[in-house]
């Protein structure tokens, strides 16, 4: 890992976006009830990236500075045509029916160039020609299109019963010729109990609604052309003592003409209740979502000539409860408290894979190359980390001799011999953590007293583990990089630690075990702010509408036992398979804001 301060100071990385949105529409009122509407929207996006790593940090030092510029230009357009019929029958039957045809398409072009070997760091990225070595330029173009047919009926009776039925068929260019279209029907029903005649208007329940919905949705968030094996270039050199570059062509991936939509079948049951004249607001939801034909890049045997292939595999179930509770108590002139609390419990389970009962996935991380870190297994939850079980530290030669690790030395990590065959190898792997929390939630509090307001927003997650890849570097003591202060407590002959292994000049092997897994639970004070609103009497004098001064602190405190930079950060983003992995991810910044809002 590079020095974070060095990255902050010696890398110039600027990304600019210019975006132009336009939207036009035409409506034709065919009858009083029948409306045709067509819209045409275009979205023009220009981006430019400028990058320079100076010779003072390792990112640029090996190449005497490294500069690159790149730019993309894309045009997205969307055409929506809908025919809507809306009529109120007998004053109680409110019917809306809609037919639609929408098309969407995108064309994007990119170009990039870079150079290394600069005489000095002066020009940054502003003069690529100043680099003695110019890198191969790159350019590319990508097309994408979506066609949708949809039909929807909204029916409401007396504002008590609300029914929505939708059917849509979507075709995406991203999928193989055999499965471009997906069909996604859904239905929702709501019952506003508080509008029933039997419901007493002055009851302690001021509003009550029951909701139920069931339907299918599709997911196409994969890259373009992912089903098709295109020809990639391979650089060869031929020509004897006067060699030149000769370009060859190879299939880039295994074609998958059956690649199609991932679909989610979701049931939602919920209720919204307001009590005591809206003093207390309560929302409870239960959901159960089954994701089928998961779009997933499967590790394939290398003997195919390829390492992975994008497939529709398996079935996953997510279900859980969400609870939101809100209240406002008191009067602003004395003391008023508004509280909003939400909590969500989710469980998930793999129902089916691609015929196999289990397999491993997870790509290597940078130079660590620790792969296959995640086990997917039928009947088990997602997000299971898979590795060996840490069983303390060898304290003596005798312990080593009596163990299944004859190559170990006192001070090395001892692993559990899970299969009991007196040898430690990859058959001794087990589930050593899970990246998903048992529950997570937030609590937002606002106190108001006269012209003062005070806000505290807390957010937390409980029960999730983080696979902290940084520990492979921070505890290796090989003399090449900065270390965790924990290594001061490492095993030595005089300090028989059972937690931190000995210093090992060769850094030891990168074997994943619970040693790299940490508790990722946290409670974070996302926002604490204090404000003062100037009194109306003062504002009217200066002919304004409102003036508010405030001071706010963001991400100020975090209660966690996690030792990486930030428990909220996950290196691999939000893919459902690789939750809770961190490799020195850039932490959320602590911010103190002093602000002045003036309304004129």
């Amino acid at each position: 890992m590079d020095n974070p301060l060095g990255i902050a100071k010696e890398v110039t990385d600027i990304y600019r976006v210019i975006r132009l949105l336009s939207n036009t529409y035409a409506e034709i009122k065919i009858t009083d009830d029948l409306l045709f509407r067509t819209t045409f929207g275009a979205n023009l996006i220009n981006t430019k990236s400028n990058y320079y790593a100076s010779r003072l940090i390792s990112l640029g030092a090996n190449t005497n500075g490294s500069a690159s510029v790149s730019s993309t230009q894309s045009v997205d357009w969307l055409n929506e045509n809908t025919l809507t019929y809306k009529h109120l029958f007998s004053e109680k039957h409110d019917l809306t029916a809609l037919l639609g045809y929408t098309t969407q398409s995108s064309h994007s072009e990119s170009v990039g160039a870079s150079a290394i070997n600069f005489n000095d760091d002066y020009a940054l990225y502003n003069n690529l020609g100043g680099g003695a070595t110019l890198q191969t330029p790159s350019s590319g173009a990508v097309d994408w299109a979506l066609i949708s047919f949809l039909a929807r009926v909204n029916y409401s009776y007396d504002s008590r019963y609300l029914l929505t039925l939708t059917a849509r068929s979507d075709g995406s260019s991203r999928f193989g010729p055999n499965n471009k279209y997906g069909f996604f029907p859904s239905g929702a029903f709501a019952w506003r109990i508080s509008n029933e005649p039997f419901f007493h208007k002055n009851s302690w329940i001021s509003d009550a609604k029951l909701r139920i919905s069931y339907g299918l949705t599709g997911n196409q968030s994969i890259s373009d052309y992912a089903y098709l094996s295109t020809i990639a270039q391979s650089t060869a050199i031929l020509g004897g003592s006067n060699p030149i570059i000769r370009l060859g062509g190879v299939p880039a991936i295994i074609s998958n003409l059956d690649l199609g939509w991932e679909s989610n079948r979701q049931l939602d049951v919920g209720t919204d209740v307001s009590l005591l004249n809206n003093y207390l607001r309560l929302t409870i939801d239960y959901y159960s979502k089954i994701t089928s034909n998961l779009l997933f890049s499967v590790n394939v045997p290398q003997t195919t000539g390829y390492s992975s292939s994008l497939r529709n595999i398996g079935k996953i179930k997510n279900s859980g409860f969400e609870l939101t509770l809100g209240t406002t108590i008191g009067d602003k002139n004395k003391l008023q408290w508004s509280g909003d609390f939400n909590i969500a419990f989710n469980t998930n389970k793999v129902l089916r894979l691609d015929g196999r009962s289990e397999y491993l996935t997870g790509s290597g991380v940078g130079h660590l190359q620790v792969s296959n870190t995640v086990q997917l297994k039928v009947g088990e939850p997602l997000g299971n980390f898979y590795g060996r079980e840490f069983d303390g530290i060898f304290q003596s030669e005798e312990e080593v001799a009596a163990s299944s690790q004859p190559n170990a030395q006192p001070g090395d990590i001892r692993y559990k011999d899970l299969d009991g065959n007196n040898a430690i190898n990859d058959n001794d792997r087990n589930i050593i953590g899970n990246g998903y929390p048992d529950f997570f939630g937030g609590f937002n509090n606002t106190f108001r007293y006269k012209n003062f307001d005070f806000n505290i927003f807390m957010q937390g997650s409980y029960g999730n583990d983080i696979l902290n890849f940084g520990r492979f570097d921070l505890y290796n003591l090989n003399g090449n990089n900065n270390q965790s202060v924990d290594v001061l407590k490492r095993w030595t002959v005089t300090n028989p630690s059972n937690e931190i292994p000995r210093a090992n000049a060769s850094g030891g092997q990168r074997i994943l075990s619970n040693f790299q897994v940490e508790n990722g639970s946290y409670l974070r004070f996302k926002n604490i702010s204090f404000g003062y609103e100037f009194p109306k009497s003062f504002i009217s004098k200066i002919q304004g509408r409102s003036i508010r001064v405030y001071v706010a602190a963001q991400n100020m405190f975090t209660i966690t036992s996690y030792k990486g930079y930030d428990p909220e950060v996950s290196r691999f983003g939000t893919t459902s398979i690789s939750q809770g992995m961190d490799y020195g991810g850039y932490p959320a910044s602590k911010t103190i804001l002093v602000g002045l809002n003036i309304g004129l």
């Binding site: 398409s105 350019s139 995406s172 031929l238 020509g239 060859g248 062509g249 003997t303 190898n425 850094g507």
Partner: protein
């Protein structure tokens, strides 16, 4: 009746018809095509039609070879897992594991050997499947097929030596059906290698011109076949492969195409690439598309190379001290001192000093004209005529129960070039020893040593003897094969692990 209906069309219906007309126009104008082609590249469906496509598909085979031999894939296990080199002791733990035999199925070097070889094999299989269907000159077509067979054999030869039984994939992968291929016995893999090389030697030309120089030739296929047969004979004195290896080597010698350079240093010169001693080599271009043989192996931190030296591994004292006095190869092979560009002082290097900045380094493939780190241009000498001579001598010794006159002539050609006295009057065992030593000194750093130790059954002894820098290798008999990569076993339920891992 129809007319009357027309007359009765009311106002809203007229609107609707205008609307429908508009809708149709829009639909026609805006309906995008969902069958989009990649704009920057052809796909497998549109490729493999022309002679140019066939040529490009074949050239891609050399692209994979360039990638394999530019780094450590084959060379590092041959150097550090044998007795020739000691890895940078605080470097990559997986490289260290190759050295002290703390080998696991998660070792990334092992995974790279496997993955790189099968990527190359797949490229050959693509050529062998697609090119026969292309309308083109038959002779050229046969040459491409011969090249594909030669390179497929080259990759399988690496695999079978490193792993033993391996999955034998001979068809292009078009889908994932039947992709979980079990291991095939090493002897069946060898049969396939021999078949491929025999076919290739029938198809391939003796030489090329211009920018095609460096492609596989008939001599390369025959030479590799001789080496394969020699390896297949193992340490079995009664093996029929000894005689076959001798005959095949003789066939190469009798082509009268190849000869030794007068001086050992000429072998590695940039100007002599694909020269008279080279049966097959992997080419690079200085600063543009090079290898890591210069910066990678210079003394660690030394500024005599672009970037600074990485000292990936250093020369073992047992190798360094094996050279007889006067052996001219020693000075070409190693860097033993250098003048510091900053201080002007002469820095003396040693095989014993623990400081990797002061380690004697492999230098015969260092390209001192390169200015970019990791982009040096000397070739990887895959198969040289000197190898053919030693294969011939060794195979004659084994198949004739002792060295023949021709065997002595062959080995003494190399000794003479090295400035050494000829050897004579040796019995079978002594001659075998002389061959092994000659191979070690002649070919160190050329990806041969570990293979040679394994095939002659000398690996354990050699590894235990070279014990400098507290190596204490926990080597056992089963270590003659590497572990099958765990990633592969995880992805393919038909695979079994090698014994011991």
């Amino acid at each position: 009746m129809k007319m009357s209906i027309n007359h009765k069309i009311s106002w809203p219906w007229k609107k609707i018809s205008i609307l429908l007309w508009m809708l149709c126009c829009l639909a026609n104008a805006c309906a995008p095509d969902l069958d989009l082609n990649q704009l920057g590249a052809k796909s497998v469906n549109t490729y493999y039609q022309t002679p140019d496509d066939a040529n490009a598909a074949t050239i891609a085979l050399y692209g994979q070879l360039r990638a394999i031999y530019r780094d450590e894939t084959i060379n590092t296990p041959n150097s550090v897992s044998s007795d020739d080199a000691i890895p940078f002791l605080t470097g990559n733990a997986d490289r260290l594991a190759l050295w002290n035999y703390n080998l696991t199925s998660q070792n990334t070097f092992v995974a790279d050997i496997w993955a790189n070889a099968y990527t190359g094999i797949q490229r050959s299989n693509v050529v062998l499947n697609r090119v026969p269907k292309i309308q083109m000159d038959e002779q050229l077509k046969n040459q491409y097929l011969g090249e594909a067979q030669f390179l497929r054999a080259l990759h399988y030869f690496n695999l079978v030596r490193f792993f033993g039984d391996v999955p034998l994939v001979l068809d292009e992968t078009l889908s994932l059906e039947n992709s979980e291929v079990p291991r095939t016995s090493a002897s069946a893999v060898y049969d396939q290698i021999v078949d491929d090389l025999k076919n290739a030697s029938d198809f391939l030309p003796n030489s090329y011109s211009g920018s095609d120089v460096g492609r596989a030739t008939k001599g390369a296929a025959l030479g590799l076949l001789a080496k394969v047969l020699l390896t297949r004979a193992g340490s079995d004195a009664a093996s029929p492969y000894w005689a076959q290896a001798a005959n095949t080597a003789k066939e190469v010698i009798d082509m009268n195409t190849y000869a030794l350079w007068d001086d050992y240093s000429q072998v590695f010169e940039l100007a002599n690439r694909c020269g008279k001693e080279s049966l097959f080599e992997v080419l690079y271009i200085t600063d543009l598309s090079g290898n890591n043989f210069t910066t990678g192996y210079a003394p660690r931190g030394s500024s005599i190379v672009p970037g600074t030296g990485s000292g990936i591994y250093r020369v073992s004292s047992s190798l360094f001290n094996s050279y007889e006095n006067g052996d001219r190869r020693k000075a070409v092979t190693f860097l033993t001192s250098y003048t510091s560009p900053t201080s002007g002082e002469i820095v003396q290097l040693s095989v014993d000093n623990t400081d990797p900045a002061l380690a004697v380094s492999f230098w015969k493939m260092a390209d001192l004209t390169s200015t970019v780190a990791g982009q040096s241009g000397k070739s990887f000498p895959y198969l040289r005529y000197s190898d053919i001579l030693l294969i011939y001598a060794e195979a004659l010794n084994e198949s004739n129960n002792g060295p023949t006159a021709e065997a002595f002539i062959a080995i003494n050609k190399l000794r003479q070039r090295a400035g050494l006295d000829p050897i004579q009057n040796l019995n079978k065992a002594k001659f075998r020893e002389a061959i092994m030593k000659e191979r070690r000194l002649e070919f160190c750093f050329e990806g041969n040593r570990w293979f040679d130790l394994v095939r002659t059954g000398k690996l354990l002894e050699a590894v235990k003897t070279e014990n400098s820098f507290s190596r204490n290798a926990t080597i056992q008999g089963f270590n003659r094969y590497l572990p099958i990569p765990q990633r592969e076993i995880d992805a393919n339920s038909a695979l079994t692990q090698n014994t011991g891992y």
